[in-house]
Symmetry: C2
Subunit: 494 residues, 2 copies
Amino acid sequence: MKARPHEFAAIFRPKSHAVIGASADETKFGGLFLRALLTFGYPGRLYPVNPGETNIFGLKTFARVADIPDPVEFATITTPAPTVPAIVEECLAGGIKAVQILSSGFREAGPEGQRLEEQIAATAARGIRVIGPNCFGVYSPAGGLTILPGAALPRDSGTVALISQSGGYAIRGAERACGWGIRFSQVVSYGNGCDINECDLLEYFCHDPNTKIMLSYIEGPRQGRRFFELLRQACRTKPVILWKGGLTGGGARAVASHTGSLAADETVWDALFRQTGAVMVKSLDEMIDTALAFLHLPHYSGRRLAVIGGGGAIGVAAADACEMGGLSVPQFSLELQSRLEAMLPPAGASTRNPVDMGSPFPLPSAFRSVLETVLSEGEVDLVVVSELSLSVAGPAMARRMGDSGLHSLLAGAVAESAQVPVELRRKWDRPLVMVLPVESVSADDIEAEEGRRKVADYYLSQGIPVFLSLERAVRALANVSGYYERRETLASGE
Amino acid sequence: MKARPHEFAAIFRPKSHAVIGASADETKFGGLFLRALLTFGYPGRLYPVNPGETNIFGLKTFARVADIPDPVEFATITTPAPTVPAIVEECLAGGIKAVQILSSGFREAGPEGQRLEEQIAATAARGIRVIGPNCFGVYSPAGGLTILPGAALPRDSGTVALISQSGGYAIRGAERACGWGIRFSQVVSYGNGCDINECDLLEYFCHDPNTKIMLSYIEGPRQGRRFFELLRQACRTKPVILWKGGLTGGGARAVASHTGSLAADETVWDALFRQTGAVMVKSLDEMIDTALAFLHLPHYSGRRLAVIGGGGAIGVAAADACEMGGLSVPQFSLELQSRLEAMLPPAGASTRNPVDMGSPFPLPSAFRSVLETVLSEGEVDLVVVSELSLSVAGPAMARRMGDSGLHSLLAGAVAESAQVPVELRRKWDRPLVMVLPVESVSADDIEAEEGRRKVADYYLSQGIPVFLSLERAVRALANVSGYYERRETLASGE
């Protein structure tokens, strides 16, 4: 039975919430979840349910749902699989509108689990909505709800929705994306999807005015035709970034034991992406990178890229990475080249595109002139500033450079250069992205990494996407360019 | 003229060293380089040369090479391109055996630079060896020499050599690789290679007993046939990991303005990799990942991989990533599956391969049993432990978890689990690698990142390769498997 938009209010913003299987033992799902909800700061009425307890974490605890004296809108169920069908019945009887079932041991576990899941689905059809089973639940900052084990996720909402058949990727995706400054309308781990499935969620977020970008990890949709149609419809207005798990033989075998889905053939999925305009990604990092690009870049069309870097091989590698990734790095006009030449040192620089500033520490004034000229001239659709040194860390770095005089001179210039992209992004509103790679992964260099992260966080807060490598930037940008191209093609074909 | 092995002694371990163009101004190459050498701790006699100075950084400074009263073995030249040919002549006249020319403005800059470079090559042919011009020089820890601007590179030697046509990738590659615990015999940035080129270096390192693995960034070799033959010869005994810049049209254009090389067609290079057995990589990160795998893994053959992770979708994605990357994730025998089942929780785990431990925080005892069983059973060639939580950071994490009791419980178990791979690697000596991804890139989470890095550094120090993502691990392992396969095929065809 299709879920209707108003039914999602009870799931995303419940005024009251029973946690069935609540426990004071945080090594159990019921304890971990209740603690997470309290830490996160759920603002509604909370009712732990456990027949063996009277008080958990200072909250009055009830033996059964029927004992709760007030009306309850939503429940989370964490008890063992065999107990769940009866509990869902009790919830329905008690007037609860929706539940999420975190327990596993259903369809993914074999015939007995399948039978339990069918019982739940039958109860759901009689008037209660179900998320799960075998899921980590819902993260909905506007409703004060958090997913398992997301006590530390941000309390502020954003414009990205993530729907994930996998609980692991729901929490991991939410945490990683939040580290990149992405904020969510909702994240939904829907597991086996015995009632509310990917189609219901896709339909909801397609019409949700708060959601601008949809991300999805999916193993096997239950309603293939409906999924296809919804995807096509959604992609007309919002990008849907889809990571399909189980495309290979080994992946498909793993799917069977994870959510018990049937994974279709890769060719079927290729056709689906082509015909709907959904953006195909192949890893969590690629999903997040692509979301960042959609989130921050103004609408553009085209695949012509300028790369501005420092140190010649970086230009060569940049051109290779871009062209291998499906973008082009066109040579600048001679007129533009000669204007850039006047801004750069005579030896060691290159102005054809990629632009080699001649040093990873360019003078702020030269960097500003070059970047502004390239951004404003319109010979390319996108500009990438790649692997310039835009952070210089503190005293340890000074010691390593062997001279604090040079270090402070450099630090001043670097800090000034670091401002340039922000100023010019504001002034021109053109697609501009930064590549800020991690230069050393050792714990000994954690200070330099902190400096790099501060600069990256600053750019992200100012609406400039940041990537960890040029290859990752190119993949994300090619995904965005491809989406806008396909959207136009599909629209003109209708 | 081919360089002979003994000639490299003057370059890699010079007893005395003139820095021509030395300066007290560290914003100039001559100042930056001299300071780097002093900070690094060059142990031989140092002679700054600059006609306008008498003392730089406390060192007696000479107007010309001819004024230095002692014999000098090696010189670094940092003066402007037009002055360099005469200086190389003076060095030859003064009995200096080899020079490195850091200055740019030669072949890469047009006909006038080309003429200057030809003059230098002609002088070299009369009895002095030249590294460069247009390079960052040599890092040779055994000789106390460092590359520009590598004052902070480690002083200890290792078994990896890096030869790079690009200065930027020489220093960047050295710094990044050292962060991964890789140590070098030598790193040579040879720039335009007007005398000593990639062939000479390849030949030297092929016979160097201290070098076990060769890395190379190359844009266009000068002696194609010799390069091919040397590569084929080297690959019989040592892996050569080659990153070819300028494979695409845009990349080839960038090469021309970088080192003035001609970049051959991609098909030519494909044939070269196939016929020589060299390992082709397409980025600096892939080069380093692949080097790590060669460095730490015992010799193995095959492409069958086991993945052990926690959280089911991680298994699905793992299987996809492995099969897309050219490795296989075979289903375990039923006998092995049932042995593993006895070690794992009944719900939420999977034992087919990938193995899903059921949680990213597995019990140490279960983790030990599962890993040891998979390692010792011989149903796979390689084992990857992917994305288990093996570090838990300090007080900030405890606050975020909302309960320090759970945090310390978890931290204890995690610390015990973290030991397991090290114990079992020692006991079994089978190919085992770890994937430890960065979970949040924000500066706010720097403490968690420091914890993660400490664990990663520990594994690396114990000879266990660590990768930042499963995709990167798979690419590196497929490179290693491919090298051993080709080496066998090529050997049997001879």
